[in-house]
Symmetry: C2
Subunit: 191 residues, 2 copies
DNA sequence: TGCATTTGATAACAAATGTTATCGTCTTCC
DNA sequence: GGAAGACGATAACATTTGTTATCAAATGCA
């Protein structure tokens, strides 16, 4: 988040720099849980290297609904901001290098910049972007078949297909891994 | 939106009152299109009486993805703010009384309050709420079966089931109206 | 009032997707 | 280097959902 801010709102740079300096750099092996479903988020995570996924437990089945890669920030914002249990788990897929921003630091920043219109507008832009993301995902689930969704994924975000194990992609697409195999087979035969 | 503001941020009341006064009150019959998919949104609509739905054309099939009732505001925000074609249509379901806020008025307000932290925070809260809404809808599509979604709808938003024709509800749930009939039948037999 | 349209239920069949099980290959870790 | 587990493909069968068609009831409207 801070790095995103920094790149897009350089006029507030003095602030970003100050808070970025308070981050902590940590290396995690693959399949490490950063935030467990049901716990209260204590940190904001920024990915220096590696990738993460967000998922939740849906009747024993693990359902992935978002992937994150280098230079992206992650948290359960709802949990983070309101001190309520997180609705999902965040874990590493690959071994990853993460910059951790503790909640206390984030809150200090909020407090300091609380009356700064530029900062508020920056926050709002981030919020709009997240909104567009969920809107897009939502519409895609509604209107596209799993096959179309898979084709779109290959076209629009090929890095996901390349770096993420197939069963996570299947759950992200909303199908079983067996069915994703069928889809791949079907697409391969068409060519 | 203005009425929402007014109730929740009364400290800015002088502003709301001024702009609310510039709204225009119009009555529409049922099935009237307020904004057509592909057109650029020119107004923000506030429902005084009646109900609306948002839908888009998905390969000839009309797909409803949100309903609106009394005291709710509606627009294609993306289209409204960025002057791009709307991705969906907004139309009345019942005969409705609508308060129309023209874009020019809205923009004037934005300009006047652009540096006002309270206003920006108000805007942000609205944005967070919309974000939560789409997040919720998105997660519900992922984890719930159509039957569960229908049961939830009856439990959490019974007014929708009561006031909206079944084929719109079916498309909202993500099934055909034939299948929704089956679901209702199935639930009825269980009791 | 009466006719046309909309709405909703149901049946029969088709297509899509899930479930379970098996197998081979590839990774990981000691 | 070898064992255990993870990963992915495939087959057989079950379940869910869509498609098309038909009919009855409710509704809107001239």
């Amino acid at each position: 988040m801070l790095f995103t801010f920094k790149n897009r709102f350089p006029n507030l740079n003095p602030y970003w720099e100050k808070y970025i300096a308070l981050q902590q750099r940590v290396e995690y092996p693959a399949k490490t849980t950063l935030l467990r479903e049901g716990k209260i988020a204590q940190n904001y995570y920024f990915i220096e290297k590696g990738c993460l996924r967000m998922w939740f437990d849906n009747q024993e089945k693990d359902t992935t609904f978002q992937f994150f890669f280098e230079n992206e920030g992650v948290s359960s914002l709802e949990s983070f901001q309101k001190n309520i249990p997180s609705a999902f788990t965040i874990e590493t897929i690959e071994p990853s290098v993460i910059q951790i921003l503790p909640k206390a630091v984030f809150n200090a920043m909020l407090k300091e910049l609380d009356q700064n219109p530029d900062f508020l507008k920056a926050l709002m832009e981030i919020s709009f972007e997240r909104q567009r993301h969920y809107m897009y995902e939502f519409l895609s689930r509604i209107r596209d078949t799993p096959i179309q969704r898979y084709v779109n994924l290959i076209k629009d975000r090929p890095h996901i297909v390349q770096r993420v194990p197939q069963h996570y992609i299947a759950s992200y697409l909303g199908v079983t891994s067996v069915h994703l195999s069928r889809i791949k087979n079907q697409l391969a035969r068409k060519k």
